[in-house]
C-alpha cells in the first residue's frame, strides 16, 4: 500500500462517516458515524507516520483517549435524550428552532 492508497481509504471512511451522520436519525448510529470519522483521521495520521516519516503517531494515542471520553459523554447524552423524549431519534430535540 502506498501513502496515496491509504489516504484514499481514509477519505472514503470519512465520507461514509459524514454520510451516516447526515442520514441516520438514531442518536447511537450518529455516534458510530462520528467514530468512523475519527478513525479515518487516525488512519491518515498513522499513514503519514509510516510513509512520510511525520511524528504523528503519538497524536493517534491522544485521539484515541479523547474519543473514549467523547463516547462516554455521547452515550450519557443519549441516555438523557431517551429519558426526556422516550426516544433516541435526535430530531425530537429541536427546541433550538428559530
Amino acid at each position: 500500500m502506498t501513502l496515496v492508497q491509504c489516504l484514499l481509504l481514509a477519505s472514503a471512511l470519512f465520507s461514509v462517516g459524514v454520510y451516516g451522520l447526515i442520514t441516520r436519525r438514531q442518536a447511537v448510529a450518529m455516534l458510530l458515524s462520528i467514530e468512523l470519522m475519527v478513525n479515518a483521521a487516525n488512519l491518515a495520521l498513522v499513514a503519514f507516520a509510516k510513509y512520510a516519516g511525520a511524528p504523528t503517531q503519538p497524536l493517534v494515542l491522544f485521539t484515541l483517549a479523547i474519543t473514549v471520553a467523547e463516547v462516554a459523554v455521547g452515550l450519557a447524552l443519549v441516555m438523557l435524550l431517551y429519558r426526556r423524549y422516550d426516544d433516541t431519534l435526535l430530531d425530537a430535540a429541536s427546541e433550538t428552532k428559530g
Partner: protein, 598 residues
C-alpha cells in the same frame, strides 16, 4: 463648638436631616404636629449654630472648607463646601432667624390644615432652609447654582401648596416658568465662565467682553429670581401660597437670593461696567413701576408683593451703582421688616378670613398687637427716620447721589414717596376707620403667631444701627451723615405718609382714591408675556416636538424595525435539527477546502 466649619455644617445639616427624615418617615409626616416639631427644632439648631458662628467668625476670621466634586481626566472640575466670610455668616443668621420666626408663626397659622398637609408644609420648609443655606454658604458659583435651583423648586412646591385650587396651581407653574426662563441665564453664564476660565470661582479675572456677557447672563437670572421688570409678574401671583410662605420665600430670603448672588459675585460684576449700568436702570425703573402698581391693589398681600419688587429694585440699583454693601444692607433690613409685614398681614387674614382690604378696617381695636407690629413694619418700609429701613434706603440713595446722571436718584426718591403713600393707604384701610362687617368677629392672634411678630419687630426698628458692624464684616465703609439725600428721603417718606392719611384717613377722599384705583395696568405686562409665551414659545416647541417625534424617534424606530424584520427573514435557517447543522458544517468545510485549493 468653636470650629466655624462645624457650626456652618450644622446649620446646613440640621434642616436637611429634618427634610430627609420627614420625607422617609411618612407616618410622622402624616400626623402633622410631630413634623412641625421636627422642622422647628432643626431650624432652632440651625439658628443657634448661625448665631454662634457670628461670634466665632468675629474671633477667628474667614474660613473655607471644600472637597472636590466631579473629577474628570484626573483633575476636579469643581468643588463643593462651605465658604465663611462676613457676607455669608451674616446672611446665614438672617435666613435662619426669619425662617424660624416664620415656621413658629406657621404652627398656629396653618393649624386648620388637615394633618397630612400640615406635615407636607413643614417638610417643604425644612427643605427650603437647607437649600437657602446651601446657596448662602457656596464656595463657588456651581454650588450656588445648585442651591439656587433648589430654592426655586421649594418656591414652586410652596406656592402650589393648595394645589387643589386651580389658581394656586397656575401660579406655581407660572412662577416656575418665569424663574426657569431666567435661570437659563445662570446656566449659560456658568458654561461660558467655565469655557473661558475653567473655574467657577467668585473672584475669577475675565477678559472685558467675556465679563460683560457672563455677568449679563447672571443678571438675567437675578431679574427672574428677584422679580425685576419685566420678569416680575410671577411674584404677585405667588401670593396664592400660604401667607407665611410669602413672608419667608417671596419677601425675605428667596427673592433676595438674586441680590445676594450679585453681592457674592461682586468681583465679577466689578469687571463689567456695562452690566452695572443695565442693573442700575432696571432696578430704578422696577422700584418706581412696582410702587405704582402697589398703589392700586385691593389685596393686602399683593400690595406687599409689589412692594417687595420695588424694594428689590432699590437693591439692584445699589448694586448697579457699584455698592454691594448698600444693596446687601437693604437686603438685610428688608428681610426683617417685610417678613414682619407679611406675618402681620397673615395674622389679619387669619382673623378676617379674607385678603381684600375692603373686608378689613378698624382692626386697631380688635388686634392691637398686630396693628402695632404692622405699623412698625410699615414705618420701617416707608423709611421714616430712626427705623431700620431708613438707614439702608438712605445708604442706597446716597450711593446714587454723586453720579453724573441724576435720573436714577430722582426715580428712587419718587419711589420712596410712593412707598410711604401705599403703606399709609394699607394701614388706614386695614386698621383704622370704621369696623367692617367681616372684622367684627376678629380677635388677636394666639401667642404662637404674635411671638414671631414681636421678635421680628425688634430688628425692624433696630437693624439700621448694625450698619457699621455689617460694613466692617464686608470690608466696606459706612457712616451716617446729614446731607442732601437723608433730608430729601425723609421728607419724601413723611410727605407720602401725610398724603395717604389725607386721602384715606378719617374723611376718605373717594374721588382721588377712585382715580388711583383706575390706574390698574398691571395686567398689561401679564398679557404681553402671555402672548409671547403662547405664540413664540409654543410655536417653537411645536416645531421641535415634530422634529423629535418624527425625525429623532423615527430614526430610532426605523433601526428597531429593520432589526426585527431582518431577524424574521433569517430565522428559518435555524431548524433545530442536528443533521441540518452537520450539513452546514460539512458544506463549510468543503468550501474552505476549495478556497484552499484555488
Amino acid at each position: 463648638m468653636n470650629d466655624p466649619i462645624f457650626l456652618a455644617a450644622l446649620a446646613l445639616c440640621a434642616p436637611v436631616a429634618a427634610a430627609l427624615f420627614l420625607l422617609v418617615a411618612a407616618p410622622v409626616r402624616h400626623r402633622g404636629a410631630p413634623a412641625a416639631g421636627v422642622c422647628v427644632t432643626a431650624s432652632l439648631v440651625a439658628l443657634a449654630a448661625a448665631v454662634r458662628l457670628i461670634f466665632v467668625h468675629a474671633a477667628q476670621g474667614d474660613a473655607r472648607w471644600t472637597t472636590t466634586w466631579i473629577s474628570a481626566a484626573g483633575k476636579p472640575i469643581a468643588e463643593v463646601g462651605l465658604h465663611l466670610d462676613g457676607a455669608s455668616v451674616s446672611m446665614l443668621a438672617v435666613v435662619c432667624l426669619v425662617a424660624l420666626c416664620v415656621q413658629v408663626f406657621s404652627v398656629a397659622y396653618m393649624h386648620d390644615e388637615p394633618p397630612r398637609g400640615y406635615g407636607r408644609y413643614f417638610s417643604f420648609h425644612a427643605l427650603f432652609l437647607f437649600s437657602m443655606n446651601l446657596f448662602v454658604l457656596a464656595p463657588n458659583l456651581l454650588q450656588a447654582f445648585a442651591g439656587w435651583e433648589l430654592v426655586g423648586l421649594t418656591s414652586y412646591l410652596l406656592i402650589g401648596f393648595y394645589f387643589a385650587k386651580p389658581s394656586a396651581a397656575k401660579a406655581a407653574v407660572k412662577a416656575f416658568w418665569m424663574t426657569k426662563l431666567a435661570d437659563m441665564g445662570f446656566l449659560f453664564g456658568l458654561l461660558w465662565l467655565f469655557v473661558a476660565t475653567g473655574s467657577f470661582e467668585w473672584t475669577t479675572k475675565l477678559a472685558p467682553e467675556v465679563a460683560v456677557g457672563v455677568t449679563l447672563l447672571f443678571f438675567l437670572a437675578v431679574v427672574g429670581k428677584s422679580a425685576q421688570f419685566p420678569l416680575h409678574i410671577w411674584l404677585p401671583d405667588a401670593m396664592e401660597g400660604p401667607t407665611p410662605v410669602s413672608a419667608l420665600l417671596h419677601a425675605a430670603t428667596m427673592v433676595a437670593a438674586g441680590v445676594f448672588l450679585v453681592v457674592r459675585a461682586d468681583p465679577l460684576f466689578a469687571q463689567a461696567e456695562a452690566t452695572r449700568e443695565v442693573m442700575l436702570w432696571i432696578g430704578s425703573f422696577t422700584a418706581v413701576f412696582a410702587a405704582c402698581l402697589a398703589l392700586v391693589q385691593r389685596d393686602i398681600k399683593k400690595v406687599l408683593a409689589y412692594s417687595t419688587c420695588s424694594q428689590l429694585g432699590y437693591m439692584v440699583a445699589a448694586l448697579g451703582a457699584g455698592s454691594a454693601f448698600a444693596g446687601y444692607f437693604h437686603l438685610g433690613t428688608h428681610a426683617f421688616f417685610k417678613a414682619l409685614l407679611f406675618l402681620a398681614a397673615g395674622s389679619v387674614i387669619h382673623a378676617v378670613h379674607s385678603n381684600d382690604l375692603a373686608d378689613m378696617g378698624g382692626l386697631r381695636k380688635k388686634m392691637p398687637l398686630t396693628t402695632l407690629t404692622f405699623v412698625i413694619g410699615a414705618l420701617s418700609l416707608a423709611g421714616i427716620p430712626g427705623f431700620a429701613g431708613f438707614f439702608s434706603k438712605d445708604l442706597v440713595l446716597a450711593t446714587l447721589e454723586g453720579r453724573a446722571n441724576w435720573v436714577p436718584w430722582t426715580m428712587l426718591m419718587g419711589a420712596a414717596f410712593l412707598t410711604a403713600f401705599y403703606m399709609g393707604r394699607v394701614v388706614c384701610m386695614a386698621f383704622f376707620g370704621a369696623l367692617s362687617h367681616k372684622a367684627e368677629h376678629a380677635h388677636e392672634a394666639p401667642l404662637w403667631m404674635s411671638g414671631p411678630l414681636l421678635v421680628l419687630a425688634v430688628p425692624s426698628v433696630g437693624a439700621g444701627f448694625l450698619g457699621g458692624w455689617l460694613a466692617h464684616l464686608l470690608g466696606a465703609h459706612y457712616e451716617t451723615h446729614i446731607g442732601l439725600t437723608p433730608i430729601v428721603a425723609s421728607t419724601m417718606a413723611i410727605a407720602g405718609l401725610l398724603a395717604s392719611l389725607a386721602i384715606y384717613g378719617r374723611r376718605r377722599d373717594a374721588s382721588v382714591a377712585g382715580a388711583i384705583e383706575r390706574l390698574d395696568k398691571a395686567s398689561l405686562v401679564d398679557r404681553a408675556w402671555e402672548l409671547g409665551y403662547r405664540r413664540a414659545l409654543l410655536g417653537v416647541s411645536g416645531v421641535l416636538g415634530w422634529f423629535d417625534r418624527y425625525v429623532i424617534d423615527g430614526l430610532m424606530n426605523f433601526t428597531g424595525y429593520t432589526t426585527i424584520e431582518a431577524g424574521a427573514a433569517v430565522r428559518g435557517a435555524q431548524t433545530g435539527r442536528m443533521r441540518h447543522y452537520v450539513v452546514a458544517v460539512v458544506l463549510g468545510a468543503v468550501l474552505l477546502a476549495l478556497m484552499g485549493v484555488l
